[in-house]
């Protein structure tokens, strides 16, 4: 804390350097109340001369900061002495429109970010060992699992991204058809599954449905 005779105007009024005129006026009123002649609270704490010094300093600070041009000069002076940063200067925004509501929609998924980082995604229908599995006419749950693990994606990630329950994908991979929903819904689930691993969705749906129809499920 600097001694009060050396404080800059903002420190004297105990306000931030970007205070608005309203804050300046309020701070000045409060402090004037504290130091004024018939204030009981300050009674006998200061001699008459000390009080005069303080009150006149307060007045000088207030009159400088409340005047737009004088304040600009004073701020320039402070910036020159390195006591204030250029960016901290008060800007009158009272005439600018103020957004009252945040109208931009921010759905849950957007705030969360994608569950699967894009770096992990890699299409592996090329010449990898998975490709031979993928090209079969019939895709079993075990085949899908193989492809998924090759892609390095967990069921939790798929569940998070697709918003389906994780149990559905488990049933899918374990070929437990009795736990799967009707075909119309199943197609959607398979599609999300395929999209998450970045393989061709139509092919997955057709092959898996064929696998179900062949009745090899447990």
């Amino acid at each position: 804390m600097r001694h009060h005779t050396e404080q800059i105007h903002y420190e004297l009024l105990e306000i931030p350097v970007d205070a608005s005129p309203f804050e300046i006026r309020k701070a000045y009123q409060e402090l004037f109340e504290l130091y004024r002649d018939d204030s009981i609270a300050a009674y006998s704490f200061f001699s008459a001369a000390e009080r005069m010094v303080i009150i006149s300093a307060l007045e000088r600070a207030y009159l400088t900061l409340i005047d737009v041009a004088a304040r600009r000069n004073y701020d320039d002076h402070l910036i020159e002495r390195g006591l204030m940063e250029e960016g901290k200067r008060y800007q009158d925004r009272s005439k600018e429109p103020v957004p009252m509501y945040n109208l931009r929609r921010s759905p849950y998924a957007e705030t969360m970010g994608p569950a699967i980082p894009s770096s992990v995604k890699k299409a592996d229908t090329g010449d990898s060992p998975v490709a031979t599995v993928f090209d079969k006419d019939i895709l079993t749950g075990a085949d899908l699992k193989k492809i998924r693990i090759e892609a390095g994606i967990t069921l939790e990630q798929i569940s998070l991204q697709s918003k389906f329950k994780i149990g559905l994908f488990q049933s899918l991979e374990e070929d437990r058809f009795e736990l799967l929903p009707p075909l119309a819904y199943l197609k959607g689930i398979l599609k999300s599954y395929a999209n998450c691993i970045d393989i061709e969705a139509d092919h997955v749906i057709q092959s898996y449905v064929r696998h179900m129809e062949s009745g090899k499920g447990k």
Binding site: M1, H3, H4, E33, L34, I40, A41, Y43, S44
Partner: protein, 313 residues
């Protein structure tokens, strides 16, 4: 005996009759009822009356027994009070020269107090700014200043706070061998004596920033509290916060406002009946204020400063 660190709260006020003993007694009763082992020590030498305030007209032992070496330790002068958990060291009676305590005796009492083991030790100090009063503020980081919202009391409370502050600075300067620095500061600006503490601190900081920082840190470690007692309805309830603000702005110490205690005529009745006000009139605004103030004190339990108690030579 377990050696817990006691919270020592000196309670002082510049002016007589501002309610120091009343507040000490009530606070002691409240803390004891909250389950804290609390000791009241009456240090208003020569005008002791705390024992009467808590309904104990004839304490059989008192502080003068210790000063006159009739008992070996301060612990032996503790008497029980009608309230469970509340103990008293009376400052009473029979010794006319106790009012003018010699320095060595005072130091002996200070050392003994800091060795006592209670949850709270409340010191009821006398009015005025005699060294006998001020030095008991040196024992702790905390302390309560009691004032009333009248210019006379406020004038005296400022005088007391300045004296305590002045004494603290002196003490810090002595402990750290800053004497030479203080002399130099005084040479540079004749107004920078310890009586003008903020200017002195300022000049010391300029001369030797490192030691100035130590001094400032030491001073900032103290946290005093203010209570405005006998607040009438027509009084401005903001006087307390305003006083704290002035002190924080101009002296480098923390000053916390603990609250206003409403004025009540019936306090007089309670004192005359020698019964605790809190029991006689538990549902008054004053009792409500007292309980709130008691809770705030209980919240801020804090330790004593061992370094500040002068070691035995």
């Amino acid at each position: 005996m377990k050696q817990a660190i006691s919270s020592i709260w000196p309670i002082g006020g510049g002016k007589g009759g501002s309610g120091k003993s009343f507040l000490t007694g009530s606070l002691g009763i409240l803390l004891a009822r909250d389950g804290y082992r609390t000791l009241l020590i009456d240090i208003d030498f020569g005008a002791a009356n705390l024992h009467t305030m808590i309904g104990l007209p004839h304490p059989e032992k008192s502080l003068s027994d210790f000063i006159n070496k009739r008992v070996p330790s301060l612990e032996d002068t503790v008497v029980e009070t009608p309230f469970p958990g509340l103990f008293l060291i009376s400052g009473a009676m029979n010794n006319l020269d106790v009012a003018n305590l010699a320095h060595e005796q005072k130091m002996k009492i200070l050392r003994s107090i800091s060795k006592l083991s209670y949850d709270f030790i409340l010191l009821d100090l006398g009015a005025g700014t005699a060294f006998n009063t001020i030095d008991f503020f040196m024992i702790s980081d905390t302390g309560v200043f009691v004032t009333t919202p009248e210019p006379t009391a406020i004038e005296n409370i400022y005088r007391l706070i300045r004296s305590v502050y002045f004494r603290k600075i002196r003490q810090v300067l002595n402990v750290h061998n800053f004497r030479a620095l203080a002399m130099e500061a005084e040479e540079q600006n004749p107004r920078a004596t310890v009586t003008n503490p903020d200017l002195l601190l300022h000049i010391i900081k300029e001369l030797d920033p490192e030691k100035g920082d130590i001094l400032e840190r030491e001073l900032r470690a103290f946290e005093f509290s203010l209570v405005v007692n006998q607040c009438h309805r027509q009084d401005n309830p903001n006087i307390g916060p305003l006083i704290c603000r002035i002190i924080q702005r101009h002296l480098t110490i923390k000053m916390k406002f603990l609250g206003n205690i409403a004025f009540d005529d019936r306090v007089h009745n309670a004192v005359c009946k020698k019964m605790p006000f809190l029991d006689l009139y538990p549902y008054t605004q004053t009792a409500l204020d007292l309980r709130e103030y008691g809770n705030r004190v209980a919240e801020t339990k804090c330790g004593i400063r061992d370094s500040m108690v002068p070691a035995r030579p």
